[in-house]
Symmetry: C2
Subunit: 245 residues, 2 copies
DNA sequence: TAGTGGTCTAGACCACTGT
DNA sequence: CAGTGGTCTAGACCACTAT
């Protein structure tokens, strides 16, 4: 059975995007099975009444997502399984919500402080200036899961404590019109200090998973620095990544 | 001063690729400074004697790498600093070599074993079949840094012990014509068992950084499963990631 | 040899941004 | 308003793969 593909030329949605969405959906719910050939681009273009470059643009976006593989002289195939969510800059809040965990957040500190030297350097603000400092405890099923300490440049965002407890920091930034662009991350481990252990209901010396991250918007400004510790029995970093071609 | 860009039409290298390489080099060594505008695509195409789609393809590849940002009605700008190496599927060996650490490898085990259930599932091989098991100790400056246990499907690769000590597993796979496509990773932490501690010259109960990874080639086959432990005082995962638009 | 994707052209119109 | 990128067309020729 051939796939039922259609495009709506009166829609404001770009034609290539309409097509890539339909192809992705077909892969998602199994109408296009792994390993199956997509049919050549010229014929596909003719069938849809599109030009070949437009069809190629749609296919290319799915190749970039890792869903399709192109082979010259062979055709375009659906990748065999496995690819689900390529790595993205997700917040812990979103991760937990996606896992159906109803995350709870307790804001411990939400204040303006003089920027420590390391933070000032990471955020690119003057050393004698102020930065926002937000400390939060993230809970799942009533148990502490992570301690999140974040610094933000002043004036970027209205850091309402109520909103911080109801949603995630990244979601708040996006709502404020900040376009996240890239982040630099470091993931490590260390033994919990007495203070850290108490915050997370662990024993002193227990292993903790740690992450430092600086996030940049599309103008290159650093918009956030985070220093997080996670209970490794409750959380690990899971992600999929694509090999750059 | 305007940038000196040229393309060689007699070269087998695609024109868009020649252009993107030159732009990337110009960004790299500062001829194009962060925030500077690239000049509009039509004019750039005319200057180079290329068509606009070709110029767009070159620019788009750098946007995908995170080096450029496009804004409708504004222009194409060089991103402000920070982006150096987007996340790639690197081997520990390559990481260390890039850091100038002359990594040493000691192969502890290199044998064929009946596939444990979990490994068979991860690699997609029959449960009663055999798989390669490779255990290695990675050293830097004579000190153990990581213990790497990898499983590979049989018949994929000639796992020469000498080569394993001289280079990395990924490099061997690429040399064997395997096209790496994607990987699923999980990074966590736990306390070292007595056996793990001894291997890595740590105390039992010391925090360890752990990583499990399944790697797939472009046909969707699992080509490797790895179960690694790292000394967190000697190693952490550092990477940069781009926000999917 | 036939069929595929890879590259390239020379236009066109639209949507958005800034002044 | 002028200028930018975003989308789209209807072709063309080439390189690679399989048979």
């Amino acid at each position: 059975m051939t796939l039922d593909l259609r495009v709506d030329r009166s829609s404001p949605v770009p034609l290539y995007f309409q097509l890539s969405q339909q192809l992705e959906a077909a892969i998602e719910h199994g109408a296009l099975t792994p390993g199956s050939l997509l049919g050549n681009e010229i014929e596909l273009a003719a069938r849809l009444g599109l030009s070949r470059p437009t069809v190629r643009q749609a296919i290319q976006s799915l190749v970039d997502k890792g869903l399709l593989v192109r082979r010259r002289g062979v055709g375009t195939q659906v990748v065999h399984s496995q690819v689900k969510r390529p790595l993205e800059l997700s917040s812990l809040f979103d991760d937990l919500e996606a896992a159906g965990q109803r995350p709870a957040t307790k804001v411990l500190v939400n204040t303006l402080v003089p920027a420590p030297a390391e933070i000032a350097a990471a955020l690119g603000v003057p050393e004698d200036g102020d930065v926002h400092r937000v400390e939060r405890l993230r809970l799942a099923h009533g148990e502490p899961m992570a301690y999140l300490c974040n610094y933000l440049p002043p004036g970027l965002l209205d850091l309402d404590t109520g909103q911080l407890e109801a949603t995630g920091l990244y979601r708040m930034m996006r709502s404020a019109g900040i376009t996240l662009h890239s982040a630099r991350q470091s993931i490590g481990a260390r033994a919990a200090t007495a203070v850290e252990a108490e915050r997370l209901a662990e024993q002193a010396g227990a292993p903790l998973l740690t992450m430092q991250r600086t996030t940049f918007d599309d103008t290159g400004r650093a918009v956030e620095f985070g220093d997080h510790t996670y209970r490794p029995t409750r959380y690990s970093f899971e992600f999929q990544l694509l090999v750059r071609p």
